[in-house]
């Protein structure tokens, strides 16, 4: 359970992650806005209160790991890592510039603190399974957190990895499904209906729960729960573009190109929310 001070800190962190991501998009003029904003809250709880990481030693032995298999949410991950102090905040504004260490999709060989290279959807799932299982083999007390998009789960590899996770009891891996209801071409239920995600993961052998993916209390409880023999899967009910009204209300918000003044307006809204928290 979050106390009120911690909750306020995480609220601020989530806002700062959104601000950071929008500043990255503003600097480049375009980017994967919707899916970056929808994971800001879960990233805030992971990096603000749950994960065992050290910004001064990004490859620390025994650290917890994040695999953002929906690699296009990189801008939100970069913002979280910058705020944590993994690298100077200004660096993230080089998003997608020539020679940058902050590419559109996460790259473990470029960005300090990024634990795995992702972007070809589905592939982060098996990678995360291997990292978690490998940590067990190495005798480390580490957890790996895996963020998968709800569009991404169209990929068959996701289900191979899910079957393996439960079948081999890889219970130091936590699956987080960003159920933001949209993919590039529209609503997931129109393109390829995911059905009841909680029931699906439960049927695969997970301890599966469905929570409000923007509710910091629910997130904290789900992410700090100790797994039993069954691995944990958390279905996060989220909104694509969460936290910026105009993005939430835009149907096609997977990748957006906006004029500078629009980004400034979004930033003004987010900053005023941050100020209101004191």
């Amino acid at each position: 359970m979050l106390d009120s001070g911690m909750k306020k800190d995480l609220q601020k962190l989530a806002l700062k992650i959104r601000i950071g991501a929008v500043e990255e998009f503003k600097a480049r003029g375009f980017g994967h806005v919707g899916g970056s904003l929808s994971v800001a809250d879960v990233l805030a709880v992971l990096y603000g209160a749950v994960m065992k990481v050290d910004p001064k030693d990004p490859k620390m032995e025994g650290r917890d790991k994040l695999v953002c298999s929906k690699g296009h949410a990189g801008p939100a991950v970069y913002a979280a890592l910058a705020i944590k102090g993994f690298f100077p905040y200004e660096d993230i504004k080089t998003l997608n510039q020539p020679g940058t260490d902050f590419p559109s999709h996460c790259d473990r060989n470029k960005t300090p603190g990024v634990d795995m290279t992702t972007g070809s959807l589905g592939q982060g799932t098996s990678l995360a399974v291997g990292m978690a299982m490998g940590d067990k083999i190495k005798g480390r007390d580490s957890r790996t957190f895996l963020i998968v998009g709800d569009g991404e789960i169209d990929e068959g590899q996701v289900w191979e990895a899910a079957m393996f996770t439960a079948g081999k009891k890889v219970n130091n891996l936590v699956w987080l499904i960003d159920n933001n209801k949209k993919q590039l071409d529209g609503y997931t239920e129109d393109i390829l209906d995911t059905g009841d995600l909680r029931a699906k993961f439960e049927a695969f052998g997970f301890d599966a729960v469905r929570i409000d993916g923007s509710d910091l209390d629910q997130l904290y409880d789900a992410l700090t729960k100790q797994a039993g023999e069954k691995p944990i899967a958390v279905i996060l009910d989220t909104v694509k573009g969460k936290g910026v009204k105009e993005v939430e209300e835009t149907m096609s918000n997977h990748s957006m190109t906006m004029p500078e003044e629009t980004y400034d307006q979004w930033l003004a809204e987010l900053n005023s929310e941050l100020d209101a928290l004191g």
């Binding site: 098996s126 990678l127 399974v129 490998g134």
Partner: protein, 319 residues
């Protein structure tokens, strides 16, 4: 390096894999072995029951297996994965390409039953393109294994080499070329017969013994050829290719693979750029595989000593 070729069969590759993989896991606690429900085919199943933590049967899910192996590499392990050649290349290509190579993870991939060695499993299981795919993966190593001694040594070296390594090897026995216990320098071709300046045959895998046989047939006719075992198809030993292309002026390649993208392509790439030389090939003529005994398939796809002899004559005629 002692060449002991006399036309006799070597130990079965299956037995070598079944002994070497457990041995590597025994001597190195970071070695993990993953298979896609084909442990029984390479003699590792019994050991895997005794080593349930580091011998992992992933089930029939090759893409997932390769991704898991790459993830294990990222946390400090040394994964060796095995499945049949087509599934170790085509079926998991995007995963080995991105989760493996692009992400700079290290995975040793063993693809068994290359080309016609797939015999009775037929066209669905017969990779003539696996080397082409792995050659196109930046930085990858590609090995076409010649005999048991080579398999033991190359597999042992691979566990400690950074990057993606693809080992294509049969399960039955090839003809023995090298003395047991031989050490092989990765990236360096081996002159297995040095016999004059009429032509050079550059071969790999099952075609090395056939090249040796072809050289004997030609020698009886007074044609003197040198044979090179180019077991490391990538990175190619360009220096050796150029040396013998220069000294012989006629090159023939021989491989159990499509002529597109394999040894012929690699050698022709080097020669066309640095030393244009008459070159002929023995390889699959851009066809799919089919079912049958291996000796039938070798005839069907013209992977024979006699065909190499014809190609050597053709190359010499073009000098």
């Amino acid at each position: 390096m002692k060449i002991v070729y006399n036309g006799e069969k070597d130990r079965a590759f299956k037995d070598v894999l079944g002994a070497t993989i457990p041995h590597l896991a025994q001597v190195d606690p970071d070695v993990v072995y993953l298979d896609a429900d084909l442990m029984g085919c390479i003699g590792t199943a019994k050991w895997a029951k005794e080593e349930p933590v580091r011998a992992i049967n992933c089930g029939i899910a090759e893409a997932n297996m390769v991704g898991i192996a790459a993830g294990m590499s990222a946390v400090g392990l040394k994964p060796i994965v095995h499945t049949f050649g087509p599934f170790a290349s085509r079926r998991c290509y995007d995963q080995i390409f991105l989760s493996g190579g692009y992400a700079k993870n290290s995975v040793t991939v063993i693809g068994t039953d290359p080309g016609v060695c797939a015999a009775f499993n037929g066209g669905t299981h017969m990779p003539f393109e696996d080397m082409a795919l792995y050659r196109a993966l930046p930085g990858a190593y590609v090995f076409d294994i010649t005999d048991a001694a080579m398999l033991e040594d190359v597999l042992t070296q691979c566990k400690d080499i950074h990057g993606v390594k693809y080992i294509r090897v049969g399960r039955k026995n090839n003809k023995k070329i090298y003395e047991d216990g031989s050490k092989f320098e990765i990236g360096k071709g081996i002159v297995t017969r040095e016999d004059g300046s009429d032509a050079v045959i550059i071969a790999c895998g099952i075609m090395v013994a056939k090249a040796m046989e072809a050289a004997e047939i030609l020698a009886a006719e007074g044609v003197k050829v040198t044979v090179i075992d180019m077991f490391t198809v990538k990175p190619l030993d360009e220096e050796l290719v150029l040396k013998y292309a220069k000294s012989t002026g006629a090159v023939v390649t021989a491989e159990n693979h499509n002529k597109i993208g394999g040894l012929y392509s690699a050698v022709a790439d080097v020669l066309s750029l640095k030393l244009p030389t008459p070159i002929e090939y023995v390889a699959i003529e851009d066809e799919f595989g089919e079912v049958g005994p291996q000796d039938y398939l070798e005839e069907r796809f013209r992977l024979t000593a006699e065909h190499i002899v014809e190609k050597v004559r053709a190359a010499i005629a073009r000098k």
